[in-house]
Symmetry: C2
């Protein structure tokens, strides 16, 4: 009898004591972007961006090492970036033509391909969390404007923190709007700062999330690629997870996030080539950046603009943060 | 001199007298859907659907024969269907959970991949026309709810005809809402009647358009696949044009309209196989129908529901209308 108990203890021991990653030889990977375009040369701004990205990356990596789900990781990382005024998402979001903030976000679970998005919300501190509730608590995948606000009302303050629209405003957003209103057509640098995160967890599940304030001086009611699954965000355990940043209209008309996955699925392209093909495509002419993680744990972060704030880490020991070039 | 004039006249003659199609040996093709699901067995309803589809098809075919652009054709055909109370688009649209109509539409030009969409509009008689104005008159591709209404205001009544929200209501929509509110989860048959059209014109240009009232009893602010380029509508002269109908959430999470084109572009699949693969995919499990036209003029119209109202015609003489199975 004693021998039997010992056998049971020995059988259970490895998975109890050695932890999730070692027991399964599993990989993790995380990649983050903070927008592509011409990054400000202001030293303080760059230092602050570097600091926030480094914090977000470390937080995400810690969760992944603990065996947390990629879904939880991408949501938490994006919440950190939404709270940072240096990025165009949540606090720090740009102003639209009506001098208001309209926030967009989406999230997707590569395991189930469940997904959720919100567009044009005005009083939700963390749009990515509302997007996750659309995914888990409704039969829909995209809720917009007043309807999304009503949904937030129903979820209550214990689930969704609300703020006045002016809470999102920064001096930089006001300055950018004044400059944008004086310039036609809109230059690319006015849309810098969308944030996104893609992660592969120790269970092999991929998730992706994107959040943005959209384009400075955008027409009221404009929806960009960020809240749209397949355009700004996509995740499928069979291929990859993707988050995009740039001129959203181009990303919608070319279904860019899904397009990366489609090249892997249908053409057998590598993750890296799939992203590169799109950024180099002379016909599609998209302008921006793409981050992605494959099911095998490869990371790519590419852009065809002046720069892209980005960060990456994985279970091989890679850990890097770049603010611009 | 006389001989010279005769030569010029003879040289010019074929293109003047024989018309656009014969001179270029060009093809045209048009396909229309009026929604997939369980089609009503009511004889009058079926007869009326048949009549409207036949009229829309003939109108579209006539325009194509005259050498009109596929973009004009898909817009005009969808306007006819938006005005017909037998379909869930424009007049005849379903009611949402708040007993209102929120209309979605999108249109795409396969030549330039320019596109436009509107979501959640409440007072626009022809949402497809507003979508076309988003495409041609803004730098955006998707405008939602109040912002889209404001845009319609700016375009003025000479461009965009407005109606009170109640103008869209039919007895059938009221009855469906009452039934839907008594049933959880929502059965597929409550989303019947989205309309769409895809056409290839004599110049080899493809266009696609989709318009819908969405799901009966949908949550306020819900955006389905119909206004989303890549999900409900897609067109690219290099591959095909596509319009979808069904449970929109599944079409968004699988970027179905673009997915058809992606299989042709990346896997070299035929138009027919690309559509069939998606409707048979055990993992994606989409429910609905897909119509498409390839750059070569092939037409496909497939569904995995009880039925789909559909019609097709092309320059080989094909001309057919089906209301259900």
């Amino acid at each position: 009898m004693n021998r039997c108990i010992l056998l049971i203890v020995l059988t259970l021991l490895p998975q109890c004591s050695l932890g999730h990653d070692v027991a399964t030889n599993a990989k993790y990977a995380i990649v983050i972007h903070g927008g592509a375009g011409r990054i400000s040369t202001d030293a303080d701004h760059r230092t602050q961006r570097q600091k926030v990205l480094a914090h977000a990356l470390s937080h995400g990596e810690t969760l992944l090492k603990e065996g947390k789900s990629s879904l939880q990781v991408v949501e938490e990382v994006v919440r950190i970036l939404e709270d940072a005024p240096e990025f165009n998402a949540g606090r720090g979001a740009v102003l639209n033509a009506a001098e208001q903030h309209e926030l967009d976000a989406s999230i997707m679970d590569g395991k189930t391909r469940a997904c959720g998005g919100v567009a044009g919300v005005k009083t939700v501190r963390h749009p990515i969390t509302l997007a996750r509730h659309v995914m888990t608590d409704t039969r829909h995948v995209l809720l917009a404007t007043d309807g999304a606000e009503t949904f937030a009302d129903q979820l209550g303050p214990e689930n969704i923190q609300r703020v006045p629209n002016s809470w999102f405003t920064t001096d930089k957003a006001r300055k950018n709007l004044r400059e944008a209103q004086a310039v036609v057509p809109m230059p690319t640098e006015f849309c810098i700062g969308t944030v996104g995160c893609v992660a592969l967890d120790l269970d092999g599940n991929i998730a992706a999330a994107t959040s943005t304030g959209g384009l400075t001086n955008k027409k009221f009611g404009r929806i960009g690629d960020s809240p749209i699954i397949g355009a700004g965000t996509f995740a499928d355990n069979r291929t990859c997870g993707v988050s995009c940043t740039g001129v959203g209209e181009d990303f919608i008309r070319n279904s860019i996030a899904f397009n990366v996955s489609a090249q892997m699925e249908y053409a057998g392209s590598s993750l890296n080539d799939s992203v590169q093909n799109l950024l180099n495509d002379k016909e599609r002419r998209i302008s921006g950046g793409i981050i992605a993680v494959s099911a095998a744990g490869e990371i790519t972060m590419q852009f065809n603009t002046g720069g892209m704030s980005r960060a990456a880490a994985d279970s091989t020991g890679r850990h890097e943060v770049h603010v611009a070039e």
